[in-house]
């Protein structure tokens, strides 16, 4: 059976490789065009990007938009070079760039969806009440037990790989679980720099309002199949895309199983379309006959 190529899209940028701008320049891409298109669509001013711009580093919405736009730009570069994916997956908020790459939404509409999702959950974002955390080195079962015994409202909202998972809930509870995880022998734990408990039960109440907003956006069927991080089904249809937006915001995701699904589908080359190398890093411990290809 033919080996396939996949694009995967990150959600946030935890650390730039600092090769991103050089890659854009080398491919004669003016990233300001991407920023301008999103700025006009959202009626905001996204300033010129540099690695140290505070407006992107310290603002959750701006950093989501930056991650999205860089992912779109990198996907354009690859596709213009003739590297076209046969499957796509987006890690968490990476779904928006996934759908752009699959020609289902425009750059502008992806930015609007991110903007809308962010503003919808705004009454809990920034309250300082909620948070997310990452645990490396304990099994899912270990973390489930820690949660059960110490802070039962915390949820495991994503399994990155066999040894790395993400939790969400009330910040004070997340901190307790992270502390207990370290005592239990986790190699590392970290509070994530987000105030929104993405993929947790706390976002379920926003499903209807987000659905209403999605219905105002012009979305087309995907030209390239996408693997759901929610339940790992392959989808292209409009109705499935609309449902996936909701699942992706309010439901638990499983990146480990999503990567496994790509590999089961004979994907042998995976391009991480985005800034940083977070998805390459968490692909450790995801076994299979595939190669994570560097784009820069």
């Amino acid at each position: 059976m033919k080996n396939k190529t996949a694009f995967i899209f990150p959600a946030f940028i935890t650390e730039f490789t600092r090769n991103e701008i050089e890659f854009l320049d080398k491919n004669s891409v003016d990233f300001n065009d991407y920023l301008h298109r999103a700025s006009v669509a959202l009626n905001i001013d996204l300033p010129e990007f540099s690695y140290n711009t505070d407006v992107y580093r310290n603002d959750e919405l701006n950093s989501q938009l930056l991650a999205y736009l860089l992912s779109c730009a990198f996907s354009d570069i690859l596709q213009n070079k003739g590297i076209v994916p046969e499957l796509i997956a987006g890690y968490s908020m990476g779904i928006y760039a996934s759908l752009y790459a699959a020609q289902s939404i425009t750059i502008e509409d992806g930015a609007k969806l991110i903007f809308s999702a962010y503003n919808l959950v705004n009454d809990i974002t920034g309250t300082g009440i909620y948070g997310m955390g990452a645990i490396i080195g304990l099994s899912t079962e270990d973390v489930e037990n820690l949660i059960k015994n110490n802070a039962p409202d915390v949820e495991i909202i994503n399994i990155n790989n066999e040894h790395s998972l993400v939790i969400a809930g009330k910040k004070k509870d997340v901190v307790i679980v992270l502390k207990k995880a370290k005592e239990e022998g986790a190699f590392s734990t970290a509070e994530l720099t987000v105030d929104t408990p993405y993929h947790s039960k706390y976002l379920l109440k926003y499903s209807d309002s987000f659905q209403k907003y999605i219905n105002t956006i012009s979305i087309k069927s995907a030209k390239i199949p996408i693997i759901s991080t929610y339940d790992q089904r392959e989808f292209t249809k409009l109705s499935e895309i609309k449902s996936e937006f909701i699942f992706n915001l309010t439901g638990k995701i499983n990146w480990n199983k999503t990567m496994q699904k790509l590999i089961e589908n004979n994907v042998s080359e995976i391009y991480e379309c985005g800034a940083g190398k977070d998805l390459k890093k968490i692909s450790r411990f995801i076994d299979g006959d595939y190669k994570m290809k560097s784009i820069y």
Binding site: D142, K182, G185, F187
Partner: protein, 100 residues
């Protein structure tokens, strides 16, 4: 308890250097025992875990990851040399490493 010989140390060092050279896409001679894993090599805890899995298989070690995690919290490593020394202790003591 396994006996640690000069040969074991050489083997462990070779595996560690090969691993970081491949992961960091640099030449082996660019890495020394003084190289800082995080600031010089951009290492992370998942790399550390992967390396431990390599040694668990190579030396058929009976040790739980969380035991190593507990040991590492009390005895953090920063350089490649310290990492090699910790791997040797893991090979030598396996699940009893917390007793040393």
């Amino acid at each position: 308890m396994a006996q640690i010989t000069d040969k074991t140390r050489d083997e462990v060092k070779e595996v560690v250097l090969d691993f970081f050279a491949e992961e960091c896409e640099i030449e082996i001679d660019e890495i020394s025992e003084d190289s800082n894993i995080i600031s010089d090599l951009d290492g992370d805890s998942l790399m550390f875990l992967e390396l431990i899995e390599i040694f668990k298989k190579k030396y058929n070690l009976n040790i739980e990851l969380k035991t190593i995690g507990k040991y590492a919290v009390k005895n953090p490593v920063q350089t490649i040399g310290e990492l090699i020394d910790m791997q040797l202790l893991i090979i030598e003591h396996e699940n009893n490493i917390l007793d040393i």
